[in-house]
């Protein structure tokens, strides 16, 4: 008989191995799924994972897209991972991302058409603060009234979405847009445009910020006492209180930093790749970042790699829809499978498989 036995300590090998195994299992099962849909499985896997980077025809367009898509995913996932380490489940990053974009864009548009070089930094700041403020709502409710941050942050995402639709067709609508919904296009306003820093790489300020966030989060979590307290809170809340950690401070810090980074990501997106605030500029990065955070083992370097991988499946997925006519839902299923298999493979980090009858120690 098969049974699971708890390991005395988590296996380092499996920590690294399980994402890799998850990706391979996703390829196999995804391939089977594509085959059932009547598409060539190997071709489909190749289109998703290989063509975006190395196909002669598409790579020139899709390679820069890798950083464009990975940037916000990494930035948001880094913020989320810090909270997840503390057992604070902020799943409303999408809302914080939207609010960041609205606040940042709004702050910038208030000064239109100024060409001051301060415009863009001020917009980034306002964007970060917007996300931060939106994340403070679940933080205050949790620390004051003991509400569940999962529900509150998720619900606030829908509120943010409604606000987005409202302002993009109302308050922040382009007065010269001939009545179409959507803000002014930031690509046509140099002072606010989040342009590519190096041509044809996809590298914009958001990606740079994401890389800084990776390094910052690494230092915070592995070197700083605040990061230590965050991990302690997640692993043993009673021990954290005994150590002197104030739980409310951890809640405010974790939700705050997640909101800040998500808000900044929203601003970078709206002033860069998206170009303008519309009712649907947000591409669901806030939710996908949850998968990225877990796929990256909640570790900054892991998140960097996971963000790139997830971006690849996005681009490859679009390519597969285009080239092979795969339905969009199949691609989403494919991405979801990755998290699914990761969680399954993760069991072996803490447990090992044993044959034979159960013995009680």
């Amino acid at each position: 008989m098969l049974r699971l036995e708890k390991r005395p300590q988590p296996s380092q090998l499996w920590m690294v191995l399980s994402p890799i195994i998850a990706v391979f299992l996703t390829m196999i099962v995804g391939g089977i799924m594509f085959a059932i849909l009547g598409k060539p499985p190997f071709e489909a896997i190749k289109v998703i994972f290989w063509d975006p980077l190395f196909n002669d025809q598409f790579a020139a367009y899709s390679r820069p897209q890798l950083l464009v898509k990975a940037g916000p995913l990494i930035l948001i996932a880094i913020g989320l991972s810090i909270g997840f380490k503390a057992g604070i489940w902020n799943i409303g990053a999408e809302g914080q991302y939207i609010m960041g974009a609205i606040c940042g864009a709004g702050a910038g548009l208030a000064f239109y058409p100024s060409e001051s070089f301060l415009i863009f930094p001020a917009m980034v700041l306002a964007g970060g603060l917007g996300g931060w403020a939106w994340a403070m709502v679940p933080a205050v409710l949790k620390t004051r009234f003991g509400t569940n941050e999962i529900l509150v942050s998720l619900m606030l995402t829908y509120v943010a979405q409604s606000i987005l639709i409202s302002v993009s067709s109302g308050l922040l609508r382009n007065p010269e847009g001939m009545g179409f919904p959507g803000s002014r296009n930031f690509k046509q306003w140099d002072a606010a445009f989040n342009a590519e820093l190096i041509a044809n790489t996809g590298l914009h300020w958001g990606v740079v910020t994401a890389l800084i966030a990776v390094i910052g989060a690494y230092l915070l979590m592995s070197r700083h006492i605040m990061g230590f307290n965050i991990r302690l809170t997640g692993e043993a809340p009673r021990a954290a209180r005994f150590s002197g950690v104030k739980p409310a401070r951890v809640v405010f810090f974790c939700l705050g930093i997640a909101g800040l980074l998500a808000g900044a990501a929203g601003l970078f997106e709206v002033t860069g790749p998206a170009g303008q605030l519309t009712g649907s500029f947000n591409a669901g990065y806030g939710f996908t970042a949850i998968i990225v955070a877990f796929l990256g083992r909640l570790h900054p370097v892991g998140i960097l790699l996971a963000g790139l991988l997830m971006a690849l499946t996005y681009i490859g997925g679009e390519l597969a829809q285009l080239m092979l006519g795969l339905p969009g839902a199949a691609i989403q299923l494919f991405q979801g499978m990755m998290l699914f298999f990761l969680l399954a493979a993760d069991v072996f980090t803490n447990f090992r498989l044993r044959f034979g009858k159960k013995g009680v120690a």
Partner: protein, 507 residues
């Protein structure tokens, strides 16, 4: 001579890396009280689990009244007439006594019949218990009665009791012994597991002593001295901690009228606790588990804060300070629960050293953790307190309970506290290591620290304390010098025998 009830022949059970039982043979006779004696890790638990069907022996045989006895699971053991009262109760707080009893039965009778049966058994054996009460409201002694009655309703031939007295006051212990003697006189055999020698000498007919998984001897405990039994158990003589004569200094810790509401539905409120501890003094606080020990430690460590003036350190109010600020001033503590409270299970020993040592040991610079220095501190603790671990990078939960206990106490002791509060400092630690921990505590006091030792082990408190007090339902008794204190007096301070009655032996 009585007939053999349960015969054990060559029982052996090995786990990876350790032989828990090695060729153990002895007999338990009908109607006898048989002690199983040994240190932590001597193999008592494994042996009992084999009898109760929780563990299958690698080799060896058991016979029950001459017939082969190979219980595949506890249910089979219970059907054959073996019942067991575990050290840690398996009761549901939110259910009533009768509901808890019914949960443990194969075919529970109708609730009304069951309530009647519970009353009958509890009357007969002097274990008064209201079947309708919620278990969460019961004291530890009463909970134990629920477990015992659950067993007695099965009409067992052999009753196994695992360290039953650790949660009882001395008076309650006497009453329990009366119950057990009555059971034995009616023909029920009792296998009594303990490491308390005096108890065994007064209660048990025979004793089997285990050391490192092997049977060392079977003897008649009444004929051996406690010292002889201890040496058989430990295999060597060890040094009893020495209290040094020391002058008492100024008042270090001054607690006045400490009252706190219960932290949860089944916690204990603290009521008007006042005491002072001087430099160089050890204050021992006894009491049955669940009478406010955890709550008192939380209030003294700073996990729960009070009015500033309620707790003073050298006349400085500290009652409103959290654990970090108190540590900075020299007030350190060690909670009872090692895993999850004193230490984070999945974190390494180095990280667990940072848990309380960060500020005091200077492990931080500008908020950043100096990992090499932290490792040095952790290894210092490991070396000084002989913590058996593969290394300082090992996760806390991979250590045995006793070794982790040495680590968490050592971590505080090496930070040279001015005031140290510990709860159950030697819980689950073997005799030699316990002696070392107690000696370390006494050394701290000798160097001028003020200590509060909360413990349920009266022998330990007598060994280390200068003054003794008992916690009872969140109140602290008057404090008395330990010299000249008798066991009866201590028992009364602990709340006496609550509402227990002696078994109607002649009924």
């Amino acid at each position: 001579m009585n007939d053999v009830l349960l015969g054990l022949e060559g029982l052996t059970k090995a786990y990876p890396g350790v032989v828990a039982n090695d060729d153990v043979s002895f007999d338990i006779r009908e109607g006898e009280i048989h002690a199983l004696l040994g240190e932590n890790g001597a193999g008592k638990s494994t042996l009992v689990k084999m009898i109760y069907g929780l563990v299958k022996p690698d080799s060896g045989t058991m016979t029950l009244r001459g017939a082969a006895f190979e219980p595949a699971e506890p249910r089979a053991a219970r059907a054959a007439g073996v019942a067991m009262v575990f050290q840690h109760f398996s009761l549901f707080d939110a259910l009533s006594v009768a509901e808890n009893v019914a949960l443990g039965m194969e075919n529970p009778p109708k609730p009304r019949d069951l309530a009647r049966q519970i009353r009958e058994v509890s009357e007969t054996y002097g274990l008064p218990l209201d079947p309708g009460r919620t278990v969460g409201t019961l004291s530890a002694g009463e909970r134990q009665r629920v477990e015992i009655i659950r067993c007695l309703l099965q009409d067992p031939k052999l009753l196994i009791m695992d360290e039953p007295t650790s949660v009882l006051t001395p008076q309650e212990v006497e009453i329990l012994f009366e119950t057990l003697r009555k059971l034995a006189s009616e023909g029920t055999a009792i296998l009594y597991i303990s490491h308390k020698l005096e108890e065994i000498r007064s209660l048990c007919d025979h004793a089997t002593i285990l050391r490192l998984g092997k049977k060392v001897a079977t003897c008649t405990p009444a004929e051996a001295s406690a010292r002889e039994l201890a040496e058989m158990m430990v295999g060597a003589s060890f040094e009893t901690p020495q209290k040094a004569d020391r002058p008492l200094g100024e008042v270090m810790l001054d607690v006045r009228g400490l009252s706190l509401p219960a932290p949860g539905a089944f916690g204990t409120p603290l009521r008007e606790i006042s005491f002072q501890v001087r430099a160089g003094e050890v204050l021992g606080l006894g009491g049955v588990a669940g009478n406010g020990q955890d709550e008192l430690l939380a209030a003294l460590s700073g996990e729960r804060t009070t009015g500033a003036d309620v707790i003073r350190l050298r006349d400085q109010p500290i009652g409103n300070m959290g654990p970090t600020e108190r540590r900075a001033l020299g007030v350190l503590s060690g909670p009872e629960e090692r895993l999850g409270h004193a230490a984070a299970p999945d974190m390494s020993l180095v990280e667990n050293a940072v848990l309380t040592g960060a500020d005091r040991m200077g492990l931080l610079s500008g908020g950043f953790i100096n990992w090499p220095k932290s490792k040095g501190f952790a290894e210092d603790v490991i070396r000084t307190f002989d913590v058996r671990t593969p290394g300082s990078g090992t996760a806390a939960r991979a250590l045995s309970g006793g070794n982790l206990q040495k680590f968490v106490i050592g971590r505080e002791v090496l930070q040279s506290p001015e005031v140290l509060i510990v709860n159950q400092p030697t819980w689950g630690v073997d005799a030699a290591a316990a002696a070392a921990i107690r000696q370390a505590l006494l050394n701290l006091a000798a160097n001028g620290a003020a200590l509060v030792v909360i413990s349920q082990d009266l022998d330990e408190l007598m060994e280390v304390s200068d003054r003794f007090g008992a916690l009872n339902e969140g109140r602290l008794s008057d404090l008395r010098p330990v010299d000249g204190l008798t066991v009866e007096e201590i028992g009364l301070m602990m709340g006496g025998a609550h509402d227990m009655e002696v078994a109607h032996v002649d009924a």
